[in-house]
Amino acid sequence: MYAFTYHRPKSVADAVSLLGQFEDPKLLGGGQTLLPTLKQRLARPSDLIDLGQIPELQGIREEAGGLTVGAFTRHAEVAHSDVVKRVIPALASLAEGIGDRQVRNMGTLGGSICNADPSADYPAAVVALKATVRTDRREIAGDDFFTGMFETALEPGEIVTAVHFQKPDKAAYAKFRNPASRYAIVGVFVAVFGSEVRVAVTGAGPSVFRADDMETALSQDFRADALNGASVSAAGLNADIHASADYRAHLVRVMARRAVEACG
C-alpha cells in the first residue's frame, strides 16, 4: 500500500467538498475491492474518504411500496433485515449469497454497484427490480446505471447515496458461483411486475444485461418450461479458466429456469 491521507466525513456534503479538495481522492466503501487493490499497489490515491460514518448513507426503509437501501448498507444487513425479507425476500437471499461471511460483513451495496464488477450480484437486482440509483446530485434509472465492464453512468466525484428497489409481485435470484472466489459465474434475477417479466443476467457478460427472449417467453407463459425455446447467445459472453462462453450461455438458461421455479 502506498501512503494516503484518510478522511472520515460525517455528511454527504462534507464528502463532496473533500472530493473537490484533493488531487486524486477515492471513496472508501466496505473496502473489499479497494483495499486489496491498494495492497497490491495497483492504485495510488492521494486521499481516502471513508463513507462509513455518514448517517444519510445508512439504513433500510420501506418507501413507495418498495425498498430504499442506503449506499453504505453492508451485505449482511440486507441479508438479515426483516424489512427486506418481508418486502423483497429475493434481495435478502441475494445478499446472503455474496462471497463469504467476512465479505458480507464489510462489503456495501454502494461499493458493489459503483465497482460494477461483471460478476457481482447486486447489478442483477438493480436491473430486474427497476431500481433507481440516487446520488448526491440526481437519480439514475437502474437500466441506465451499468454501462460496461467496471463502468457506470456516474460522473467523476459523484457519490451514490441510496438505491430504491421496486417491489415485484414475485422474484427470485439463482446464482452459479465461482468455486474459488464465490462471485457469480452466472446469476439470473427474475422479477414479475404484473404482466411484465424482467430477467437480468449478471456474471455472464461484460456487464449485467436483460435476456429479451426469455422475458418475452416468460411474459406469455411464466413457467420454467417456457424457457425451452429461449436461449442466450454465447457470442460476446465472458470466458476465463472457470467457464467458457458456451458454458456461461448454458448456465444462464439453467439459472433462469431455477429462478422461475423458485418464484413459485
Partner: protein
Amino acid sequence: MANPNGIGAPVRRREDARFLTGRGTYTDDINRPGQTHAVFVRSPYAHARITGIDATEAMQAPGVVAVLTGADMETDKVGSLPCGWQIHSKDGSPMKEPPHFPIARDRARYVGDAVAVVIAETREQAKDAAELVMVNYEELPAAVTSLKALEGGAPLVHDDVGGNLCFDWHLGDAAAVDAAFSQAAHVAKIDLINQRLIPNAMEPRAALGEYDRATGEHTLTTTSQNPHVIRLLMGAFVLGIPEHKLRVVAPDVGGGFGSKIFHYGEEAVVTWAAKKIGRPVKWTAERSESFLTDAHGRDHVSHAELAMDRDGNFLALRVSTVANMGAYLSTFAPSIPTYLYATLLAGQYKTPAIYAEVKAVFTNTVPVDAYRGAGRPEACYLIERLVEVAAAETGIDKTELRRRNFVPASAMPYQTPVALQYDTGDFAKNLDIALPLVDYDGFAARKAESARRGKLRGIGFATYIEACGIAPSNVAGALGARAGLYESAEVRFHPTGSVTVFTGSHSHGQGHETTFAQLVSERFGVPIENVEIVHGDTSKIPFGMGTYGSRSLAVGGSAIVKAMDKVERKAKKIAAHMLEAAEADIEAKDGRFVVAGTDKALTIGDIALQAYVPHNFPLDELEPGLDEQAFYDPKNFTYPNGCHVCEVEIDPDTGVVQVVSFAAVDDFGRVINPLIVEGQVHGGLVQGIGQALYENCVYDEESGQLITGSYMDYCMPRADDVPSFTVRYHEDQPCTHNPLGVKGCGEAGTIGASAAVMNAVVHALSEYGVTHLDMPATPERVWQAIRRHTPAQAAE
C-alpha cells in the same frame, strides 16, 4: 492400570492452546534489535535475459540500507542451491543439474525468479524502493508446459540442457513386460494428467538472518521442516559457513505439506546479507509471493497400459510419464517422480512385471518438488484409475477385480517388481471393512433415488499403499540420495524426574509435542505434563533429518524409543547399585525398577535424582547423569495402506460434483494417538478431494504468467465442500521392523482420496459413456464431458 496419556490414548494436542490463542511463535513474530527488512525484486517475465540492473535511484530512497544482486553474490563466491538427489538416465549419464543461484545472475527463468533484493529500515520502504530498481530485461520465448518443452525447437530453459531434458530414467524389466503384453487377453489403457498444485501452507515462508560479529556466528530463523538439512546445504554448499558457526532455527511453523522441506534462495540471501550489512535481515513472503515462489507439486503427464489374462489377472503394467521439474532442480525434485513414484506402481497388486519410464523436463515455471504424498499420490491415481478402466472394460466388478489381484497377506513379506519389499499388509481386510461401511450393496438403490431427483450418482474406490518412514540410508544412498535419512533423539531426565526430549523431527502441524510425549509417558510412567518435546533448533538438538514422507513417528519416534532403551539400561544399573542387587535381576516396568521376586523397587524419579547426586557411585562402572542420545536408521520403508471409498452426486444441468460420502479404512500399523491420526486423515482427505475437484495451477502457455496467482482463481477446498468423513483403522498388521510397529499416517488421506473421488465421478458419468476425466473435475469439465457424450446436445 492403563496410562491415560500412554500409547493408544486420544490425548488432546498439548500445542493447540498455544496455536489457537495466537500465542505461537512463528518466524515472522520474531524481531531483533536493529532488524532490517528485505523485499525481493522478482522477474515479471517467465524467461528473460537480464542485461543490466540500475539501483541508483533505489539506493537514494528513504530508509534503504542496501540493494544487492546476483553479481554481488558472485563476488562473494556464493554458490548454487544444491540438489539433494542424483538420478541417472537410462544410458547411465547423470541428470542435468544446471546452477540455481539464490538471486538470478544473467537470466530469469520463471515469473517470480529473484533478480535483486532491497534491504531497508521498514518493509514498506523496501517495497517502495524495490519499485525503483531498474532492471533491463530482454524477454525471451518461454517453454511453459512439459510436453511443449520437450518438442524440437522449444525455447531452452538452460542453454546447455538440450531438449530441456533433465533426465530420461526407467525402472523395471522392459523385456518381461513386453513378453507379458504379447500374451495378454485384454489390455486396458489410459492417458492422464496429474495436474500441478500450489501447496498453500497457512503460514507464508519467512526467514530472518543474523550475524554476531563478536562470535562469528550466523543464525538463520526460517520456516523449515528440517533445520539441520538447511544448515548442511546452506552452510556447506551455498555460503561456505562451517556448521559450528551456523545455527538454524525453525520455530513454530504453520504448515508445510512438503513445501518447506527445501532450501530456498531467500534463506541464503538473508543469512549472507545480515553479515554484509551488519544487521539482522528479515524477509516474509506475501501471499502472492507464496503462489509464485513456493515449490509446486505434481505436474505429471502419463500414459499407462495394463495387461490382463482372460480372468482379469494382472500380467504386466507399462507406464510412461513426463514430469515437470520447473526452471531449476529444487532440493529433492528428482527423487519425487522416480523413487517415490515408480517404485509404488505395484500398488496393492501382485502384477508380476512392471516397467516405467520417466522423463523429467525443465520449463519456465517455478520449481516442482515434494507436495503431501510426493510421487505416491501420482502412482496411486494412475494405478487406481487404470484398474477402474480395466474393470469397466472387462465387466468384472471393481471390488472383485481388485480382490483378485491383491497381494495376499500370506505372501508378506512381498518383493515387488519395482524394488520395494512390503513387510505387512492385509489388503482384502481393508476392503472387507470398507464394503459394509459404505453399504456397497445398497448403491443401486441410492443411485435410483438420486435419479429421481435428476442427479447422477457414482461410487469410486481407491486402494493405496505408500512407502513411508523415509528411509533406510543404505537404500536411499544406492538410489541417489546425497544424504542419510535416519533420525536422532535425545532423552534427558532431569534430577527431579521431569524429562526433555530433543528430537530431530520437526512438527509443523503434526502434533509431535503430544504424540512423542505419550511415548515417554507410556514407557516410564512419567506424567505427560512432565515431558517436554524440543525440536527445530540446531543448537539444541542432535543432527536430525526433519519431517516429511510420514516419517516422524516411524523414524523419529523409533529414535526416541532407542534413546529410552539406553536410559532404561542406565537406570537399571543405577537401580542395581542403589538396591544392592545384580543388574540382571532388575525388572523395569512402567517406570518402576524392581528386584525380581522382591518388593524392593525404585521409581524412575528416585533413580534420576541419584543419577545427578551420585554421592556413592562406583565411578569406574557407573557414570553420573541420565541423558541418552540415539540415532535410528530404519531397516526398510514402512507401508501404510488402505481402502478409500467415495460417493458423489452430480448435477447434470450444471456439472457440479458433490462428495456425498467418504470412507477411509487405513492400516497405519500401531496407532499411538487416534485423535491425531484421525485429524491427519481428515486433512489429507480434504487435500486429496481438493486436487480431484478444485485445485489447479494454471500458467499461461505462451507468456508463462501464473493465472491462478490468488485465491480468487486458485480454488482451495473449504469445510462446506466436504462431507463428514467415516474413518476406520485396524492395527493387526503392525510394521515388523520398527520398535513401535508404526507405519505413518500423514500423507495417506491425500494419496487415496483423489483417485477415489475421480473414480466416483467417472462412474457417475459412465451412463453417458464417459471413461475418463482429468482433474480437477470442475463443473465445466463435467458438463462438457456430458455434452460431448449426449448426441442431442452435442448437435445443438
